[in-house]
């Protein structure tokens, strides 16, 4: 705390020179700068949305309209591309597969990460700092490095082309991430709460489930959001570890490009459908997300 107060005091010394304006002028200037900020933000949001808008736009057109002339919005609105996806099991199973392994991964990860994060936030033990660093290096290791042996490993244990294989593989980077985020949240819970609970006769498992987990609820929500995000967007490992039964949607999308050209409408519709689960998840955690992005340590 003290270093910030010191900084504000230092700031004051510098600023008194520049601020010879009346309060009215200042209010005026504030309103103007607020307006300018909103304009800039609006501009950024529009530029950000444009590529997504274009994808939605194309998903609502027929291929002949897409390739025919430049249309800024669909002239003959059609839902054929979506209907095509929802009536073809080889397409919609891709979504089911992706959701399945993402859900499994979230479940496995949160179950093993919660006790581990508690250990890191409350105790010191031999090798704790090195263990933590080793975990983080897994977060940073490029999946391409592990590509070769993964295939062999999961093949030899008989898990190749199953959902659990992808879920386990994604643990490689999701467990370290979950521990990193949860540790931050847990450290901000005062230690006195643990001690009081033990004095009141709570056993460790009961205290953990009944008292501690509810206290870091928002932290867990944010962690699940990140786990969803990184498992949902990853393709390289998911693609390598699956063939037909558990193929992710991202891989099925490559089928739209055939010898006779690319089926742009279906590709766009499939793309739009991959964005929707993300929107749902972010909507549920919107109130915690700002806090969670600081990973508990600001």
């Amino acid at each position: 705390m003290s270093y910030q107060l010191e900084n504000t005091q230092r700031g004051e010394k510098y600023t008194t020179i520049f601020s010879k304006v009346t309060p009215a002028q200042r209010r005026n200037r504030n309103a103007r700068s607020r307006w300018r900020a909103n304009c800039l933000l609006g501009l950024y949001l529009i530029l950000m949305i444009l590529p997504i808008y274009w994808l939605i736009n194309m998903s609502l057109q027929t291929n002949s309209e897409i390739l025919g002339s430049m249309t800024l919005w669909p002239q003959n609105l059609t839902f054929d591309n979506y209907i095509g996806i929802f009536t073809n099991s080889s397409w919609y199973m891709g979504y089911v597969n992706s959701m399945l392994y993402v859900a499994m991964n979230m479940l496995i990860t949160i179950c093993v990460a919660l006790p581990a994060a508690y250990a890191f936030s409350r105790f010191t033990f031999i090798g704790d700092k090195h263990l933590f660093f080793w975990l983080l290096t897994n977060l940073m290791a490029p999946p391409a490095v592990f590509l070769l042996p993964y295939f062999q490993l999961y093949y030899s244990v008989g898990l190749f082309d199953t959902h659990i294989a992808v879920a386990l593989a994604h643990c490689l980077f999701n467990i370290p991430l979950a521990i990193w985020i949860l540790e931050g949240f847990m450290s901000s819970v005062p230690k006195e709460i643990d001690e009081t609970a033990y004095i009141d006769g709570y056993s460790f498992p009961r205290f953990f489930v009944k008292i501690f987990i509810p206290m870091i609820r928002s932290g867990i929500g944010v962690t699940l959001f990140f786990l969803f995000m990184f498992s949902w967007v990853e393709l390289l490992l998911a693609r390598t570890l699956t063939a037909t039964n558990a193929q992710p949607i991202g891989m099925i999308m490559t089928r739209t490009s055939t010898a006779s050209g690319i089926d742009w409408g279906t590709l766009a519709a499939a793309g739009v459908l991959t964005i929707i689960p993300g929107i749902l998840v972010v909507y549920f955690v919107r109130n915690h997300i700002a806090k969670g992005f600081a990973l508990g340590r600001t």
Binding site: Y14, M48, I66, S187
Partner: protein
């Protein structure tokens, strides 16, 4: 801050996680090391080659070029995304429904599967059917990402900025939200200028999240694969072939187990060095602030 208790039984809490991560990380890593010193032709035909693969990989000019390309890419996107992210975080609304709406909109690109990001930009930048490609052509710009290496580079950087600036913005936004209102009031009473508020109140509070942002962005950009692979396929020529793509082509496409394993290890060591430097820096910064806290 919390004073941690020495307790070696904490290992029991860590153990389940350790088993899982070790299964996914240590066994494959050992296998990569084994591959890297052999020429594996089949299940029963393999020869010990020693350090030969490492030597040829370190002297491979295509890989050296990909490495330089990778580093320049990472530095360019950091130089754009960090200031842009801070800027966006500063102008984001702080409360009300606008705050939620902007938050949801801004996080959107982060939740799109990486290959779909590639597809979105592939469609968006095509001269015949894409808004951006078509628009630039109408304006008389000769823009073609499959033929012009410069255009391909600009597009990939633009795509990455579009995709990942939200992460930096969100991190900074949450850092800014944790500044108590009293600091701003004090600044108002002192009639501090906007720049002074930023420099002496907001920026110090942001350092922690900014280090995390730089770390995450550097690491992710260093392993970028799906987006450029879908958008340009590494071309034109090899102008946008980054390390992960060279590696994947070698490992999966050509099935060169030995060389690609040696390449993986060199790649991994570079990542290890960089993340260690970052991590040590973070930890020492935290130690300076709260001498008893930190992991």
């Amino acid at each position: 801050m919390n004073n941690k208790v020495p307790n070696n039984r904490a290992w029991l809490l860590v153990l389940p996680m350790l088993v899982l991560v070790a299964f996914s990380a240590i066994i494959p890593l050992m296998t990569v090391v084994n591959y890297s010193v052999q020429d594996v032709l089949g299940p029963n035909a393999r020869f010990f080659t020693g350090t030969e693969w490492f030597e040829s990989m370190l002297n491979d000019s295509a890989l050296q070029a990909a490495f330089l390309r990778q580093i320049s890419f990472s530095l360019i996107i950091l130089a754009i995304q960090i200031p842009l992210g801070i800027g966006i975080a500063l102008i984001m609304p702080k409360r009300g429904w606008q705050a939620s709406a902007v938050l949801i909109l801004i996080t959107l690109p982060l939740l799109i599967p990486w290959n779909v990001v590639g597809s979105i930009w592939q469609i968006f930048t095509r001269g015949d059917i894409g808004l951006m490609g078509w628009g630039l052509r109408e304006l008389g710009v000769d823009y073609n990402i499959t033929r012009n290496a410069g255009d391909a580079w600009v597009t990939i950087v633009l795509m990455d900025v579009w995709h990942w600036t939200p992460l930096v913005a969100m991190l900074c936004y949450s850092g800014l939200r944790s500044i108590p209102e009293a600091y701003y009031q004090a600044a108002r009473i002192d009639r501090a200028s906007k720049w002074a508020v930023f420099r002496y109140i907001q920026l110090p509070k942001l350092t922690n999240v900014l280090v995390i942002a730089v770390l995450l962005r550097f690491m992710h950009s260093f392993m970028i694969y799906a987006e450029p692979f879908v958008l340009t396929g590494g071309g034109p020529g090899s102008a946008t072939t980054f390390l992960s793509q060279s590696l994947t082509t070698m490992a999966v496409g050509q099935q060169d187990l030995g060389p690609s394993a040696a390449f993986s290890l060199i790649y991994f060591l570079v990542i290890l060095l960089v993340s260690w430097v970052f991590y040590t820096t973070i930890m020492h910064m935290q130690k300076d602030k709260h001498p008893h806290g930190g992991a």
